[in-house]
């Protein structure tokens, strides 16, 4: 050992001693504790259907559609249809129904009494319901629930005698890049049956806590959060996690500890 390194170590040891007077006894040779580095993944299922418009929004859109219908340029029938063709008659029928829907019965005068029937073809598909069976059964493991909201993956950690909900998390080895560690730890924790994408290389958040290890209670753990998206597949329970759930922001609050919620809530989307 060179002299300069030895002197430096002694200085570090003395510094540690001074600090230790207030907290805990430590030896002069006790090396300063480096915090543990961890990476967590905020795995997101983005909205898969458009937002349900509010009553006001629906009324607004309807009103604007009526204004547009009243003010639009005359439709060039000759350009789009051959005169007297079946397609034109069909279009006229449908147009009359739309006019009547927009402006009322009195507005459409001609042929208003005759039975206007538009045959439904096979192309008229019935849209899928906005609420799925997963919404009815409140199955938090199903990715098809809450289609218009953001869902986030939470896992139930049951290692080291703990039993709490958190985002999938793992340790970063020295020399490993954060986004690579995130991808690896996600597979380790939640299985490889997921098609995911980690958004960029930069962390979106940071959280510091006392690591729950009983041998070293003063050791802190610094967790960097990276955002990810799931496109297909599903999480699996492993030996380190006993359960998982896909939750909205509001549902997460009731499951996680208070300080964890305060440290992570701003990374989540309100929608």
């Amino acid at each position: 050992m060179s002299a300069s390194v030895f002197v430096k170590r002694c200085q570090v040891g003395r510094h540690e001693q001074r600090l230790g007077q207030n907290f805990a006894r430590s030896l002069a040779t006790h090396a300063p504790q480096k915090p543990r580095l961890a990476v967590a993944v905020v795995l997101n299922r983005a909205p898969i259907i458009a937002k349900t418009p509010t009553k006001f929004e629906r009324a607004f859109y309807k009103y604007q559609a009526r204004i547009q219908r009243a003010l639009h340029n005359p439709f060039p029938y000759d350009f789009y249809f051959k005169p007297g063709s079946i397609l034109e008659q069909q279009f006229n029928k449908e147009e009359r129904i739309r006019e009547r829907k927009a402006f009322g019965k009195d507005f459409v005068t001609e042929e208003s009494s005759s039975s206007i029937e538009v045959e439904r073809t096979d192309e008229d598909e019935v849209p899928a319901p906005r609420r799925t069976s997963a919404d009815e059964t409140k199955d938090v493991k199903d990715l098809n629930r809450q289609g218009s909201r953001n869902l986030y993956l939470l896992v139930r950690d049951s290692t080291n005698g703990k039993d709490e909900w958190r985002f999938p998390k793992g340790n970063v080895e020295s020399g490993e890049l954060l986004h690579e560690a995130a991808r690896k730890q996600l597979t380790v924790q939640c299985g490889d049956n997921m098609n995911t994408w980690i958004v960029g290389r930069r962390p979106i958040g940071f959280f510091e806590e006392q690591s729950g290890i009983s041998t070293d209670p003063l050791l802190t753990e610094k967790t960097f959060f990276l955002k990810g998206h799931i496109f297909a597949g599903q999480a699996q329970t492993q030996d380190s996690i006993s359960d998982f759930a896909w939750l909205t922001k509001q549902e997460i609050e009731s499951r996680v500890p208070k300080d964890y919620w305060l440290g992570t809530k701003d990374m989540l989307s309100d929608l």
Partner: protein, 292 residues
């Protein structure tokens, strides 16, 4: 005292005339003209716009974030500032040192409010046949109208230019003369812009033969150019692509022939790296990019 005031108030009320009833002015057909300008706003939810605000915006902020730990230093003054009184510099040009600074324009600091977003889409098409006969432009004009649904002042919006005719500016012998119509162009914003983008990436590009994506310049290409710092992504569509738009497909035989066009996606990104940000945004809308 109080009764006197009360009487005075009553008198003043009586003396005040009722405000005149404002009747609607009538147009030549006897229909009422409203007192205010009526504007047509969004008539339905815009799916792609929602997708941008709910999903893309957050991801783009994380992807394009550049960390700056402290405030930027002021620009270095290499040359002495121009002094018009100095007899040396009085009649000389004050050229920037180190050549043109256009391609080196720094990007603004990353904040949550200047995340890259689409501002407008411009389409234009130049028709060589219009030089010989200006009526050759009519087909393109009609196709652009059907494609975009834009009219001049449409929906009461004065800012809406509709489909415009582009006229020649220069005199190039045997090719173009000033003032003659040679093409059409249209600017799309807001709801209609997202609708056009949606139909382009869903109906047209997947059906185009031999289209792998918008071709990127080689990785070694210099991006310190005016286009590299402008945040505008440009692509071209061949004539056969026009027939794949649903608006044209319904009566394709009504057009004399199909027309190609240029598409410019204008974003709010600026400065170094703006082109990359704009491409990241568009690939979020599923516009493919490829490298040869």
């Amino acid at each position: 005292m109080t009764s006197r005031i009360a009487r005075a108030v009553a008198r003043s009320r009586l003396a005040k005339k009722a405000p005149p009833v404002r009747y609607f002015q009538r147009d030549e057909r006897g229909l009422p003209i409203p007192h205010i300008d009526i504007l047509v706003r969004n008539t339905h939810q815009c799916r792609l716009q929602e997708h941008y605000h709910d999903t893309l915006r957050d991801d783009l902020m994380y992807l394009t974030y550049v960390h700056e730990s402290k405030a930027r230093p002021p620009p270095r003054q290499i040359r002495l500032t121009y002094d018009p009184e100095d007899p040396y510099s009085k009649h000389r040009k004050n050229l920037p040192v180190g050549g043109s600074q256009v391609g080196k324009k720094p990007s603004p600091p990353t904040t949550a409010s200047n995340v890259v977003q689409l501002e407008k889409i411009c389409l234009h098409s130049m028709q060589k046949g219009a030089l010989a006969n200006r009526s050759n432009l009519l087909g393109t004009l009609m196709a652009f109208r059907a494609l975009t649904g834009e009219t001049e002042g449409g929906g009461g919006w004065r800012s809406s230019g509709g489909v415009e005719i582009v006229r020649g500016r220069k005199n190039v012998s045997g090719w173009v003369r000033p003032g003659i119509p040679i093409g059409v162009k249209v600017e799309l914003k807001g709801e209609k812009m997202y609708e056009f983008l949606g139909s382009l990436v869903q109906f047209v590009l997947p059906r185009l033969r031999d289209f792998e994506g918008v071709v990127l310049p080689p990785a070694s290409a210099n991006m310190n150019t005016p286009s590299g710092v402008s945040g505008v992504v440009t692509m071209g569509l061949p004539p056969e692509a026009l027939g794949f738009f649903p608006q044209i497909e319904v009566n394709q035989d009504a057009y004399p022939r199909l027309y190609g066009m240029h598409i410019h996606f204008v974003t709010n990104a600026e400065g170094v790296g703006a082109q990359d940000k704009a491409r990241a945004l568009l690939s979020g809308f599923q516009l493919p990019f490829c490298r040869r």
